[in-house]
């Protein structure tokens, strides 16, 4: 279980306890947190669960991107060097306290 903080583009904060094994994307969807669309449902084929990890320490601590994630991020709205797809961030106790920022929009 990890407490994840989701911050919308307008600054609205949401916090959710997300069970281990779920993705950060699923944590948002299951808790009705706006700002993450996840059109493809976690198949890494749509780039609409795009988030920024603004804390550099956290960004480095996350599991590295697998092949294909950056290819999808190329197609996201305003990708930056601290962009991740939240469907690829699998929750474990290690992610307790993670904060993700949502972009202005997903599509």
């Amino acid at each position: 279980m990890a407490k994840i903080k989701y911050i919308e583009f307008n600054g609205t904060e949401h916090e959710a306890d997300v069970a281990n094994g779920l993705s950060v994307m699923e944590g948002a969807i299951q808790n009705d947190i706006p700002g993450i669309d996840a059109d493809c449902g976690g198949g890494m084929s749509c780039a609409t669960c795009h988030v920024y990890i603004n804390d550099d320490e956290w960004f480095k601590k996350l599991p590295e991107k697998e092949m294909g994630e950056d290819d999808m991020l190329d197609q996201a709205f305003e990708p930056k060097s601290n962009s991740r797809l939240s469907c690829q961030l699998i929750v474990s106790d290690d992610l307790d306290g993670l904060t993700v920022h949502m972009p202005e929009k997903q599509v």
Binding site: D37, D39, C40, G41, G43, S45, C46, A47, T48, D70, D71, D74, Q75, F77, E78, P79, K80, S81, E104, V107
Partner: protein
């Protein structure tokens, strides 16, 4: 005006199998899809990715699944209207009048929306200022490449479309290719060629930059780009091209008075009808308690929606359930000779 029993919106696997089921029970349909090819997400997003959960098919790619579905509905000779989009629905005397973007008109008692997560549209630049030039000097697809002759063209993106157009246009235009990172997702041979043309200064290649703003006075003059570290460059450009892949937009579907739950349409699971009489929704776009976004669920939903359409297409007939193994009527429809 084309009169038909059913208009299916979306030529993905769910729409295709629903067409099959309509054919089996003796109904006609017309299929409209925004893409220029049949197959929906299967063909656009993962043509080569194997799918492992189609019943009785241990493994197949999105393309194979699509080709098999096309083969399966071939006996019915249904019409496809590709690169077109249903724009407007109107109800008159219990018939739906359907108008498409390309000006086609249908009259039908039933519509099946099998639109996935919406229609595929190119992702556009996030900068507001680019909207002003949209379709004129800021483009997301190319219809006539002669307009770029001897012009400065800034191309954004790292996939095959961006690379292929950069290579093609570098013959007769001043091309700058801009991408957000050093790695490209396009074909390795194209990446190699781009690097060669960059080395001999035929193409101006800039990586780790993205668009900041477009500038012009009436006509487009330049594009401002920024790096992650905040450096800014200004590139002269008569045209700016963006190739960031496709996104899915619900589009006009949202304006037809259907109940919506986020981006999905609630249906009744007896026949997958929506809150509007004669409009059905199946596949990823529909929602109900327990909904799974699986292709196999879409197949089931399409089979039931087809029976739902029967009631409207043949109001005076009673639907009779038959097996394809046993029914001679169905075998006639399939053109099977025994």
């Amino acid at each position: 005006m084309i009169k038909t029993d059913v208009v299916i919106i979306g030529a993905g696997p769910t729409g295709l199998f629903c067409a099959h089921q309509l054919g089996i029970i003796g109904l006609k349909c017309e299929i409209v899809d925004n893409l220029d090819k049949i197959g929906g997400q299967c063909i656009e997003l993962y043509p080569d990715k194997p799918i492992y959960d189609i019943p009785a098919v241990p493994k197949c790619t999105g393309e194979e699944l699509t080709n098999n579905l096309i083969e399966q509905i071939k006996p019915f000779n249904f019409n496809f209207h590709l690169s077109d989009k249903v724009q407007e629905l109107k109800n008159e005397n219990n018939k739906w009048l359907v108008k498409t973007l390309n000006g086609k008109e249908f009259e039908t008692p039933s519509i099946v929306i099998a639109g996935g997560v919406g229609s595929f549209e190119p992702r556009k630049f996030p900068t507001k200022s680019a909207e002003k030039y949209d379709g004129k000097s800021v483009l997301y697809s190319i219809k006539d490449k002669t307009i770029f002759k001897d012009k400065s063209v800034a191309i954004f993106g790292g996939g095959d479309s961006a690379l292929d157009w950069a290579l093609e246009l570098s013959n007769s235009s001043k091309v700058t290719l801009i991408h957000r990172r050093d790695e490209f997702r396009g074909a390795p041979a194209s990446v190699q060629k781009i690097k060669e043309l960059s080395d001999n200064k035929t193409i101006n290649l800039i990586t780790k930059y993205s668009i900041k703003d477009v500038k012009g006075n009436g006509s487009l003059e330049s594009v401002e780009i920024k790096s992650d570290t905040g450096d800014i460059k200004v590139i002269k450009a008569d045209y700016v091209l963006g190739f960031f892949g496709l996104i899915m937009q619900l589009g006009p579907i949202a304006e037809w008075g259907l109940n919506l739950d986020k981006k999905t349409i609630p249906v009744n699971t007896e026949n997958f009808e929506t809150n509007k009489k004669g409009i059905f929704a199946i596949g990823d776009i529909c929602t109900y308690p327990g909904k799974l976004k699986l292709i196999l669920s879409g197949f089931h939903e399409g089979a039931l929606a087809a029976r739902g359409c029967f009631k409207y297409a043949r109001p005076d007939e009673k639907y009779r359930f038959e097996f394809t193994t046993a029914s001679s009527t169905i075998k006639d429809r399939l053109g099977v000779k025994e």
